[in-house]
Amino acid sequence: MSEKRSASKIDRVAMPEQDPKVRARNFLEVPTGYTMEMAQAEAERCLQCAKPGCVQGCPVSVDIPGFIDILTRGDVSGAVQRIWLKNALPAVCGRVCPQEIQCEGNCILGKKGKPVAIGNLERFCADYVRENSKDEALPEKQPSTGKKVAVVGSGPSGLTVAGDLIVKGHEVTIFEAFHKAGGVLVYGIPEFRLPKDIVAQSVNFLEQLGVKVDCNAVVGRIVSMDELFAQGYDAIYVGVGAGLPKFMNLPGENSIGILSANEYLTRANLMKAYQFPKVDTPIPIGKNVVVLGAGNVAMDAARTAMRLGAESVKIVYRRSRAEMPARAAEIHHAEEEGIEMCLLTNPTQYLADQNGRLVGMECLKMELGEPDESGRRKPVAVKGSEFRIPCDLCVVAVGSGANPLLTSDTADMKTNKWGYIIADEKNGKTTKRGVWAGGDIVTGAATVILAMGAGRQAADSIHDFLTFGW
């Protein structure tokens, strides 16, 4: 132990990354990953706290000191198995979790210096095992219970539920509306942040365990939830995400060259339109691009536009830097790649040419006033500050709402006034017997790991139901 304490004085091992100038024009992953030496050096920094704050900060309670300790001994496979006990998607979470407010945010080393790079280590373990072992060891499955579970949506929460329940001996079928499984991991998060072969591998892993994945299956259209019960399913988990794009409702919004972030990113990621015309789906290539909004999705859209060859990309946001909802690391990466932040700027109108194509945005300068109901200082327009930003592409990334396609087909599953499904916070039970829900369709747009946490709780509750009853 004393050795480790002294080791903690060494600096956090920096994650090697592609050079910003180079990566701003390609779709390869930005961080290139630790080597074994780097990972072990970083693992040595962990103090192995008796009461680890990191575990408390993790929504799925991964045994973080445990896997790091195994890693220091060079047993990467053992380390990843320790993570798997709580988290089936370490390669994904190591990349996209907001560690700075979760595990790493609670790391004792962070009080005086930099916290242990838990995300980087998690990613290393998952990648190393995926790349170096021929046959992935499958977790042991319980004997078949004869019970059938339908999982609607193959995003992070649906995949978690499927993985948890298949090993408990239940029969699991995932229904996915798109032609490819993975949900937001496939259509939303860009290749340069989360390579799609990692998502495919995670889905494939579940299929090897016996999970059936039905793509092109829009539940609520091709089959209703009651029909699923009639077909012999004993329980249904709904994890369909918050798939309804929000627009600004400004004049000129239907001009050509204005896309929701959902559309822009789906074209780029799911349809791989960045390879057009090698693939058949086109995507508008903007010369001067404006992205409205300042969350992680806005950063993804801005960085995608840059990679597609834009001359300028601007984030337009009505509040100040302090209120930007994106992770600091994402903002940092975006700025390194040359994306400009037009803060305290509020768009008021889209401007189009005679063919209906976007040519610019009319904006107002803002200043911060009194705090509003969200606790953030309310932006107030500066009189007479109208100005124009020329642009030929605008991506609207101001959040998403609840898609009513499934809920409107299922009257006895109650929703709140915003259309999100009402579900028990502790176990995910909805108002409809035999149906659970979790992830963004319950909470509104949140993170991958929170959706996985909700999936885990629901899976436990579904297992209880299948074993003991409602």
């Binding site: 091709i222 239907n254 060259g257 959902n262 074209r267 791989k272 693939v279 789906t281 508008p284 898609n403």
Partner: protein, 278 residues
């Protein structure tokens, strides 16, 4: 995979019919709904309103005009070949109601979409007149089917090569002048639907149109298919595809349909060159 079991060429090979095995969709689909098709791994998702379904056989039928690379790829599929993906049934079904005298106006491949709706309207007791049109006799499709699906039929060609010489709107105007028309359903090219809506607006005849905006997911997730109806932004995929023709901003729809015109032309030309070289 979704195999093609019947393939027909219509209108001198510019319009293709595919009957495709998709039992789950066939069982659920109702007139007016659409599917999204993708022929291969790197293909585009193309929305097409179903021309027919056969729940017993487990098939859906689509009829489409070859207008770009993706529809050209569809055309090149033979009987026994498969679409990689079909998603559906999507969109709202037509609200079929007995109202009295109904006129169904169809142009181009819109006639295919109009067919099951016409049949449905007649079946529940409406007196259905259909007016179908094309630029030229060679481009006219489904004449016999439409005749069977309706009580009476008027055929028009723009150039007078067959049937009545003139536009479908001319024939509709005559019908409106001659007697009571309680409802109009118009499906076809945007300018045709716009002209029909303009004609029926004055006499306040309820007019249903089926729109074909560009889509990606078809489930209300992306907003690509947004249309302005009655001054409100709606989504073609989940709020439609059918709307009150008097409320639709057709000019905006027409404009938005040209969003990718340049890319589409380039892609199609390259595909044709490649194909001819083989």
């Amino acid at each position: 995979m979704f195999p093609i079991i019947r393939r027909e060429e219509m209108a001198s090979g510019t319009i293709i019919l595919n009957e495709i095995v998709a039992p789950m969709i066939a069982k659920k689909a109702r007139p007016g709904q659409f599917v999204i098709l993708k022929s291969h791994e790197e293909g585009e998702r193309i929305p097409l309103t179903m021309a027919d379904t056969n729940p017993e056989k487990g098939t859906v039928t689509i009829i489409y005009m070859v207008v770009g690379k993706s529809t050209a790829q569809f055309r090149d599929l033979k009987v026994g070949d498969s679409f990689q993906d079909i998603i559906g049934p999507l969109g709202k079904a037509t609200h079929l109601e007995k109202v009295g005298n109904v006129v169904c106006v169809g142009g181009g491949t819109g006639i295919a979409v109009l067919h099951p709706i016409t049949r449905g309207l007649k079946k529940i007791g409406n007196n259905v007149t259909c007016i179908i049109g094309a630029r030229d006799k060679e481009l006219l499709i489904m004449e016999k089917d439409m005749e069977k699906a309706s009580n009476q039929m008027i055929v028009c060609t723009d150039n007078g090569s067959y049937g009545r010489h003139g536009f479908v709107t001319d024939a509709l105007k005559d019908l409106m002048d001659a007697g009571q028309v309680d409802m109009v359903v118009a499906i076809g090219p945007v300018p045709m639907m716009k002209a029909v809506a303009n004609l029926t607006r004055e006499k306040k005849i309820p007019t249903l149109v089926s729109l074909n905006p560009i889509m990606v997911d078809g489930t209300g997730m992306c907003g690509c298919c947004r249309v302005t109806v009655g001054g409100k932004m709606l989504f073609g995929c989940v709020d439609g595809p059918e709307f009150d023709g008097h409320q639709v901003d057709f000019d905006e729809l027409n404009m938005r349909l040209k969003s990718y015109r340049e890319e589409e032309t380039k892609c199609y030309n390259e595909y044709c060159t490649m194909r001819d070289a083989q």
